[in-house]
């Protein structure tokens, strides 16, 4: 029962990724695409944690930490390029 609900939750989160990706395809400006990328990374972090518990290996959580930190710096780099900062 509980496993079924967890799987349904993961599939709903997957649908969230797909919706953000549609914005990345049609987004008229670059800022729209960057926002969509931001949304996709955060939903992917949740999905990584789900995978860690699904395959019963808590060590995978390290991947989520690194993923979050690096994607934050990537978004900041895109934003600073957009405002002609760096």
């Amino acid at each position: 029962m509980a496993d079924l609900i967890y799987n349904i939750a993961a599939i709903i989160a997957l649908a969230g990724i797909v919706l953000s990706f549609i914005r990345l395809i049609i987004g008229p400006t670059i800022a729209d695409r960057a926002v969509a990328l931001d949304g996709m990374t955060i939903i992917s972090i949740s999905l990584i944690v789900f995978i860690a518990y699904y395959s019963n290996r808590i060590i995978y959580l390290d991947v989520a930490i690194v993923y979050g930190l690096i994607s934050f710096v990537g978004i900041v780099a895109i934003a600073r390029y957009l405002e002609r900062g760096i």
């Binding site: 395959s55 019963n56 290996r57 060590i59 995978y60």
Partner: protein
Amino acid sequence: MIFSLILGFLLLIIGLYGMLTQKNLIKIVIGFSIVDTGTHIIIVSIGYLSGKTAPILDSTVDLANAAKQVVDPIPSALVLTAIVIGLAVTALMLSFVIKLYQKNKSLSIDDYQELKW
């Protein structure tokens, strides 16, 4: 996992198509990085054994017959090396792009014909 194998091949072909048809130097480097990713996915999915877990032997793995429970560690190690080398190659290619642009003020590959015969 057959799906990831197919995915790797598709990415490889799309990347090659981009490298061969695009004129922009930066687009060619992007195509190269897509080929890189595709190749890595192929190698990792060849090493995957269905129903087995990652080769990190902590308390969730039975140590007595550990070799029967884990996937192949050698493709992981190879791909790890290949990703780092890929970064080095990409950095070198991009600095060549910058150097070429500073020399000729153009990004189109049609403007660089010194080595054409």
